[in-house]
């Protein structure tokens, strides 16, 4: 028991950024529900999570390259590309829809893999490589969807953006009014999607040698090399995972909006918000510290701020300003460590 306590204490101490972000999110969420006229209801939770899914996926995508010590400026664009692909393929019979979803995810994954190849074998810095490929992704998206539009199965859209009750009712898997089911019926489907896809992939991945190599490379690439770790494989995997999660975001956006939209501005703002979310979630831009769960929390925090604007009738024009201040304060906390460095030459290394 004592050992368990010590473990917990260590884990909190070693993940201070994540801990602070999580506690902050919980407090903000409680306060939000108290202030909201319909607080603590399934409807509010459904609405909130629905609006968060895409940025959560894009933030998780961004986490992988940042852990390596790089940045992926194409995540928003890959998300947009996947969104447009999905809007063209996600209709018809269930089998056709399933194939459409798989192709959508494969598109993003392949794009991420391409990013990885350019970074590893082209020896180009991630930031500039992905700036270029991001533009290519938007170009392809525009090619598919010159105008916003498309057709996504309406039932699917309804079922995946509501609570479990509606999902079961829509597809008639079992009696949605059954007594055993009612304790779970309120759970929003988007929340489940985030948790199943995010946790289901991230937690095992973190325990693989490739996953740990990503951390090692971000922390000290020379030490990773000297220890004989598979550095190239880790980099390739990181960018591929980024592509996959960005595609998850794009797929969900298509289901949610029943359409695709090759919107360059939107792609750019998703990319920048994903970086903000990753940093808010306690991941270091220098690499090696943090994780996708943190990014999930960071993305929710970022979204939570905008929910406040709605209920507190603050001028929406102030939103960017306040978001900027919050981000600045949050990252300043992380910069306190530099005050402890005794040899100032180290600050530059």
């Amino acid at each position: 028991m004592n050992d368990y306590k010590k473990s917990l204490k260590l884990a909190i101490g070693q993940n201070m950024g994540f801990t602070v972000a999580t506690v902050g999110l919980l407090l903000l969420w409680l306060l939000y529900n108290i202030l909201h006229p319909g607080g603590f209801s399934s409807a509010v939770l459904i609405q909130n999570t629905n609006e968060s899914v895409v940025i959560v996926f894009v933030a998780i995508a961004q986490t992988f390259p940042i852990l390596l010590g790089g940045l992926d400026l194409s995540v928003g664009a890959v998300m947009t590309l996947a969104n447009c692909v999905a809007s063209a393929l996600m209709s018809g019979s269930p089998i056709q829809i399933l194939i459409g979803a798989i192709i959508t995810l494969l598109t993003g994954t392949a794009f991420g893999f391409l990013n990885g190849m350019i970074v590893v074998y082209g020896r180009i810095q991630p930031i500039i490589a992905t700036l270029a490929t991001g533009s290519i992704a938007i170009g392809l998206a525009l090619f598919i969807r010159p105008q916003p539009g498309g057709d996504v199965d309406g039932d699917l859209g309804w079922a995946l953006t509501n609570d479990l009750y509606e999902l079961v009712y829509t597809y008639g898997w079992w009696d949605a009014d059954a007594a055993w089911f009612s304790p779970f019926a309120w759970i929003p489907v988007p929340l489940l999607i985030i948790i199943i896809v995010g946790f289901g992939i991230w937690l095992p991945f973190k325990k693989t040698v490739t996953g740990r190599t990503i951390y090692a490379v971000g922390s000290s690439e020379s030490a990773a090399f000297m220890s004989g770790l598979p550095i190239e494989r880790a980099k390739l995997t990181a960018f591929t995972m980024a592509g996959f999660f960005a595609a998850c975001g794009g797929l969900y956006l298509a289901i949610q909006t029943s359409s695709g939209n090759a919107d360059m501005t939107q792609a750019g703002s998703y990319t920048l918000n994903s970086i903000a979310a990753v940093v808010l979630g306690g991941t270091s831009l220098f690499g090696g510290v943090g994780g996708a769960i943190g990014s999930l929390v960071g993305a929710l925090l970022l979204r939570m701020l905008s929910f406040y604007f709605r209920i507190m009738s603050i001028d929406p024009l102030l939103q960017p300003l306040i978001e900027g201040v919050v981000l600045l304060v949050a990252v300043s906390l992380g910069a306190l460590r530099t005050l402890r460095t005794k040899n100032r030459l180290r600050l530059f290394r």
């Binding site: 070693q14 693989t208 922390s219 000290s220 005794k342």
Partner: protein
């Protein structure tokens, strides 16, 4: 020794870096169940030797055999698979991962294809207990550990690979004395288990206590291997030096008493400086000697305001000064200049022009208000290039286009442009050709004659002997011996550097602790 087959054998190994020959036709063998010391001066080729053994470097020529079989290591991992494991000085630890993660970094215990954290933690605990480091929590992050604890983790990491040949490169230099005892015990155990330990150390008493065989290297060559006790300390020192002096030095003025300009008392910082006392006179050249990593670099950095939380007293012209940053250090009243350790990262902005680099530390001297005056700049640049005879096509070429020697001249000229009173030089002739070296020696003497005070750290003993009016030898964060005039000789510096007795005068009281 009656052993039939050496565990590790090198035949005709050579390694060159560009024009520099780091190892030359080396034959070397070591045997199971022995602790084998490798001795040599700075630059004798010891680290190149172990890097080749452990798969970090490829030899230019020659063959390496492990247990009689020819091997060709492409990476440290391959070497570890064949049982050759090197304990690097903190190089192979990832700071943001936990101790257990680091110990089993490249081959963790697995369950269902995923890393089994619990087993990994238990195994790490067992290994740490073996080296009496039960107090290190395997879950702690490496970056939160002190330097000596990190070194112990590095040792645990090496042990986890079940080495047949264990190479310790200065592995004890960062350790507390208690840990050093643990390591001594561990080496004994490993020896009984039939492991061959290669031990690189600058500490003679360590070598004498632990090792059964000694090999001396000099200038990239394997000079001799002998059993412990076969030679005296003096003979070993003679084997380690004994090369011809090939650089010409300007004539030294006769020894005299200098008017004190800089005096340092009881300077302390972290674990690297443990109370340094030193004075520097007007027009005097004082050399800092000793083996690598005894605190010489830290002393220069501390004076130049790079280090935080330095304790002790520094006086310039009898005034207590406090240098909080390089910007303060280069300004009045201290007027320090520091020619840094690594010219490519700390000395120069490589893509910028020669002219920009020359003026970057003294822009205030060539500006009218906030604007840099082109005419003053041109004149100053021309002066700098002329004073040091830097060979340039045009001052507007990138400094990266120059040869190493000319680049170093740019760094020195850059600092002379600030018109310093006290010049701190960190190994200014490292990696440059003999001709340029001689020019730099002449320049240093000329600066001293102008009344500037020079503190010169050099890893080259000839330089200390040829250039300096006085040599202060550092050992373990302190100045242990000061040599003056005729006392400055290779033998006296080397013995002082190794901290073995019978040194002439000026032994500082209590320094042997």
């Amino acid at each position: 020794m009656p052993q039939s087959e050496p565990i590790l054998r090198m035949a005709g190994i050579s390694k060159s870096f560009g024009a520099t020959q780091a190892l030359q036709d080396v034959d070397f063998s070591c045997f199971t169940g022995s602790i084998h010391a490798i001795l040599g001066e700075n630059g004798a080729g010891k680290s190149t030797l172990i890097k080749i053994m452990s798969g970090v470097l490829d030899p230019t020529a020659g063959e390496l055999f492990v247990e009689g079989g020819l091997v060709n290591f492409q990476s440290p991992t391959q070497a570890a698979k064949d049982g050759v494991v090197c304990i690097f000085q903190e190089l192979s630890l990832v700071p943001d991962l936990s101790v257990a993660d680091n110990i089993f970094l490249d081959s963790p215990p697995k369950k269902w294809g995923l890393i089994d954290k619990k087993t990994q933690r238990e195994q790490a605990r067992v290994l740490l207990a073996r080296i009496k480091c039960g107090d290190i929590d395997p879950r702690a992050l490496v970056k939160d550990l002190s330097l000596s604890r990190r070194q112990m983790v590095e040792i645990a990491k090496a042990l986890s690979k079940k080495p047949k040949v264990l190479i310790l490169d200065e592995a004890t230099s960062a350790l507390s004395s208690q840990d050093v005892d643990t390591i001594y015990g561990l080496l004994g155990e490993l020896k009984d288990e039939g492991v061959c330990c290669l031990f690189i150390s600058h500490k003679m008493h360590e070598v004498e206590r632990l090792c059964d065989t000694l090999s001396v290297f000099r200038n990239g060559k394997h000079i001799e291997t002998f059993a412990k006790g076969a030679k005296s300390d003096d003979e070993i020192v003679k084997l380690m030096i004994g090369r011809t002096v090939d650089a010409q030095f300007p004539a030294k003025p006769p020894p005299k008493d200098y008017e004190t300009r800089l005096s340092i008392r009881d300077l302390k910082w972290e674990r690297q400086l443990k109370g340094v006392d030193l004075t520097l006179g007007r027009g005097e050249i004082v050399g800092l000697g000793g083996l690598d990593g005894q605190g010489q670099k830290e002393l220069l950095l501390a004076l130049f305001g790079v280090l935080r939380s330095v304790e002790g007293e520094v006086r310039v012209d009898d005034q207590i000064v406090h240098t909080g940053s390089p910007a303060e250090a280069k300004a009045s009243p201290t007027n320090f200049a520091l020619v840094p350790e690594d010219r490519k990262t700390e000395g120069l902005m490589l893509p910028m022009s020669i002219a920009d680099n020359l003026m970057i530390a003294s822009l205030d001297k060539i500006s009218d208000g906030p604007v840099v005056s082109p005419s003053k700049e041109k004149e100053a640049v021309a002066n700098g290039i002329k004073q040091l005879e830097i060979k340039v096509g045009s001052p507007h070429h990138a400094v990266s286009t120059l040869s190493g020697g000319n680049q170093q001249k740019v760094v020195i000229a850059k600092w002379l442009c600030t018109n310093p009173d006290i010049v701190l030089l960190n190994d200014p002739t490292r990696g440059i050709d003999v001709g340029t070296k001689q020019e730099i020696y002449k320049l240093i003497r000329a600066l001293a004659d102008e009344g500037k005070s020079i503190l010169l750290y050099s890893t080259d003993y000839d330089e200390l002997i040829g250039c300096c009016d006085r040599v202060a030898v550092m050992y373990d964060g302190k100045i242990t011996v000061e040599l003056k005039g005729d006392e400055i000789s290779e033998t006296s510096i080397v013995s002082a550097a190794l901290n073995i007795g019978d040194t002439p005068a000026h032994q500082k009281p209590g320094a042997m602790q």
